[in-house]
Structure formats: structure tokens, C-alpha cells
Symmetry: C2
Subunit: 298 residues, 2 copies
């Protein structure tokens, strides 16, 4: 018999809660990320109706979060700029109310795990799941497991060289125009051009600049992580023409230095869109829950 | 009884060959990296005197190298600019002559493995060994194992933002002034200032600029790999004052975003010098040989 798990994608704008075990077997509910007490209470009410039938719960959360099991704040959302959410004990609140084991990771790590299990990362030991939307974040799988290291990667805050013709001041509260998110997340595009990305026509100069920044970031991720594939999602990447520009620009910037077949001759299979769409995060919760219960993550 | 291994650090300027098993038990010989036939013949002659007593040989090599076991060129040095060394079958030549199993990896991955076993990386699951000298390269340990992924990381070719006052054209044949090595390896310092690094006084503007570039690279490695520690070696880093500048600048550029204790309050224990000095590479050969023979790498 298949185990039943609970899963939460705790995103900065919405919560997705699901019960099931895989993409073909799940029941889900979505609601806005209001206050911590309200959002967590709604999640608890949803899972409560499955009391006694859930083996565990996996949570992929917006961050930054504390993943250090030795820390008194393990399982917390920590220093987020999202009003009201700083210092929220996510794991403790859920585990106490539901009385089941709760696994915890970043929303992007969860999405990466789900793509690795059922999506574009199946069969790979090393890949990146990168999302470019309201923010920029990434989950990294390395040597077959999700990367935590000291804390967790923060791909959106790696630094980029600014384009010489770009005079925009940048939007990252920590790094201004120095980092990827400050230059290339959705709000930066909108502020720079005074128009939402969705309203910028395909031949607007915004897109060549955007491809320049995304490609530069990918070059750095390729040089540091040597991924077998890059899965590139998020609202900004839904502009179809942008993906082609990013591929061409990445190839151009690398300039043949990395002599690996996927980069030299098959970049269409190397930089890809997610297979699981907007369900990757919550499906990752199932993978996290399984892992917590002793089944290997991948 | 302790197994005896052979080890080679095949560097771009010198070969180090050793027999032993650990830092306290080894016999070594060093010679210049002349032609492939001459250098490999000298290595074979050295190990031949131990015939019958070596369980295996581990080689850490300059690159790029082919690590794909499914490739017809597995074990080769591939597209190196070093004259005469392109397309050299290192593993095949050694294995045929010595009739023992030969393990193969990059010189920096080997050094990282050695630091992880006996040096500054002991007990860590995620760290970087970065060397800044004639070139810039790094070995990456992630989730307890060396990172290969698609090929192997190329930390020296990740891109950096050029300092607005730096007019140097850069020295990377592939990336000009766009990448870390093009801007900050020893030959770039020498060409930019028309003086070798070793001859530039401590308050020369070269060092503030150098710290700026190294720190920016470290910020990117921290954001992508989330290492528990960065081990920073190589000839350029032997300028003692430079390490302090790099630490201060890294802290400044991160600007408190990564809320991890080592970065916030203990950067002296986070960015460190190698423990094994110029023996890390060859000692890594022992770790590679052990791993090949079925003993876990770390």
C-alpha cells in the first residue's frame, strides 16, 4: 500500500497544501500567504481531516530559513522582509498541531527534488532548478542530493557584471544593482522599464538585457556547479522568446571553453523548462517527507 | 598492514610523484613538466621500482581533462593550451606500463580531497579548495564527495564585474577581462601593473583591486555552493596581507544577507589557508587511489 504524505509549498504569495504521494495522486488546496497564524491554521485544518492517515509532512518554504538541526531556531523562517513572517516557527507549529514528523527545506530545493523524481531532472545526479519571478532562487542537486552546506545556496544573490548601458540602480535591499535578483527579477524589470514584463513587447530592449543577465548567471552556475542540466522556470521565463535568447547568449559567453558535449552541441536539452510547472514545490514536499521517514531522497 | 599507493600531481609546471599512504608516510620525487613522453616516462621509472607493492595509483592532473568513463578519451588531458600536451592519454599510458589500477581527477579536486582527509577540511561535508597562482582553479566537495557533474567545476572561469577604475584588457584567451582568471591570476596582475605580484609593495593599489576581485568571486561561490569553509591557496595568496583584505571585503560585499554564523562572526575560521601546503595535490592521489579500490573517498 502506498504511504500517504502531506506536503506544503509555503510561498511568499501563496500556500499550496496537498495530500497524496505523487503527481498522479494528490488532493490540494491553495490560499494566500496572509499572516503566519492564519496561513498555518488553514494548513493545519486541511491536514487535520486526514488525521491518522498521514505518515509525515514535507514543507518547502520561502526563506531565508534555518535548516541547522542543532540551532534553537531550526524550522523557522528567519530574517525575511515579508511583513509579520520574521521568526516564524513553521516546523514546530505544524508538528505540535498535527503530531506527525515534519521535514523542512527551501521551496526551491523542494521543487528541485520533485523535478529530480518526476520531472526534467530524472536520472541526473547534478542539476539546478532556477526560478526567476518576483524573486530569484534556485535549488541545487549535487552528487545526487540536495545542497545545504553551510545553509543553502542563494543563487539569486550571486553577483553579476552590470551591462555598461544599464543605468538602473538595482532593487536588492542588500546588494543594490550588484546581484542577479537586484538586476533581473520581475520587480527590477518593471521598475527599470516602468512597465510590467508581461507588457513589454518581444523586440523591446528589455529582453536582450534580461537574456544578458540570465546567461551571465548561468555561466557562473556552470563554472561553479558543473550541472548536467539547468531547469529554468518562474514567471519571467514564461516569456517564450526569452529562453532562446538565454541559450544563445550562454553559448556565446562561454565561448567554447567548457568542452562538454551538452554545451557544445545540445544546449536545447541542457537548458530546459520545468516539467512539473507550478506543482513542483508542493510535490517536493512528498519527496522531503519520504526522505525524513528513511526512504532515500532520490 | 597499510596499503601502499602511488600518487601523481601532474601540474602544468611540475610533476610530483609519491609512494606511501598519508602525509607522515611518503617518498616523493619532483621534476619539471617537460614533454608528455619524457614526464610520463620519469613517473613510470619511479613507480617501477615499487613494482608488486602498489595497490593502485591516483593522479591529480592539470586540465581540462576527460573524466567521462563512457568517453573514448577518458583519462586524457584534452584541450590544454600547454604545448605538446593536448590529447595526452595519461591514464592509459600509466596503467599499461605499471599494470595497476589508475584513478584520475583534476589537480584541484585531488588537493581538495587531501585537505578533506588530513587538512583544513577535516570533518566537513561541503567546502572549496581554491588556488590562485599562474591560473585559478578550484576543487569542490559537496555532500561529502568531490563534484564532477557534467565535467568538473571551473571556478577560475566564472565571471566577475570589472572594477570601474580597472582599464586592464584581461588575459583569459577565452573570456578576456570577463572572468576571474582573466582579471586576477598571477599573469594578469603582472601584466596590469608591469611588475610581478611578489614585487608589488603592500600598499600598492594592486592589492585592494585584487581583494575586490577575489572577494567578489568568493561571494559567488558562497551563494552557489554554500560551503562550510573556503580554503584559499596558491602563489598569489602567499601575500599575507591579501588574505585579511579578502576576508574584510567578502564580509562587506555580502552585507549581512547570508545569516550564517561563520560569515557573521567567525570569518577567520571560514576563509582559511591550506594545511597541507604544496603537498595537497600529491596527497590527494592517495585518496583517489583508495577510492578507486573501493574505500570511500572520505
Amino acid at each position: 500500500m502506498t504511504e500517504l504524505y502531506g506536503a506544503i509549498e509555503a510561498g511568499g504569495t501563496k500556500f499550496v497544501c496537498a495530500v497524496g504521494s505523487n503527481p498522479e495522486d494528490l488532493t490540494e488546496v491553495r490560499f494566500s500567504t496572509t499572516s503566519p497564524s492564519e496561513a498555518l491554521a488553514r494548513a493545519i485544518a486541511f491536514f487535520d481531516s486526514y488525521r491518522g492517515r498521514l505518515a509525515g509532512l514535507g514543507v518547502g518554504s520561502f526563506g531565508p530559513i534555518d535548516l541547522d538541526r542543532a540551532s534553537p531556531r531550526y524550522g523557522y523562517i528567519t530574517s525575511t522582509p515579508k511583513p509579520g513572517w520574521s521568526n516564524t516557527d513553521v516546523v514546530g507549529t505544524l508538528a505540535n498541531a498535527l503530531d506527525i514528523p515534519v521535514a523542512f527545506d527551501t521551496d526551491v530545493n523542494a521543487a528541485a527534488l520533485a523535478e529530480g523524481r518526476w520531472g526534467a531532472g530524472v536520472g541526473l545526479t547534478d542539476f539546478i532548478y532556477l526560478t526567476i519571478g518576483t524573486g530569484i532562487g534556485g535549488g541545487v542537486i549535487c552528487n545526487g542530493r540536495v545542497v545545504h552546506g553551510m545553509m543553502h545556496p542563494e543563487l539569486g544573490h550571486s553577483f553579476l557584471a552590470k551591462h555598461p548601458e544599464d543605468t538602473y540602480r538595482g532593487r536588492c535591499p542588500f546588494h543594490g544593482d550588484a546581484c542577479f535578483e537586484g538586476l533581473a527579477a520581475g520587480p527590477a524589470i518593471e521598475e527599470r522599464w516602468q512597465k510590467a514584463g508581461i507588457d513589454l513587447v518581444e523586440d523591446h530592449p528589455a529582453w536582450a538585457l534580461q537574456a544578458h543577465y540570465v546567461a551571465q548567471a548561468l555561466v557562473n552556475f556552470i563554472c561553479t556547479l558543473s550541472p548536467q542540466k539547468i531547469i529554468l522556470g518562474g514567471g519571467v521565463m514564461e516569456q517564450q522568446h526569452l529562453l532562446s535568447r538565454v541559450k544563445a547568449k550562454t553559448h556565446q559567453l562561454l565561448n567554447g571553453y567548457i568542452q562538454a558535449e551538452p554545451l557544445l552541441s545540445d544546449i536545447d536539452s541542457y537548458i530546459v523548462v520545468p516539467d512539473l510547472g507550478n506543482q513542483a514545490g508542493v510535490l517536493g514536499g512528498f519527496v522531503l517527507a519520504e526522505a525524513l521517514l528513511g526512504i532515500d531522497e532520490r
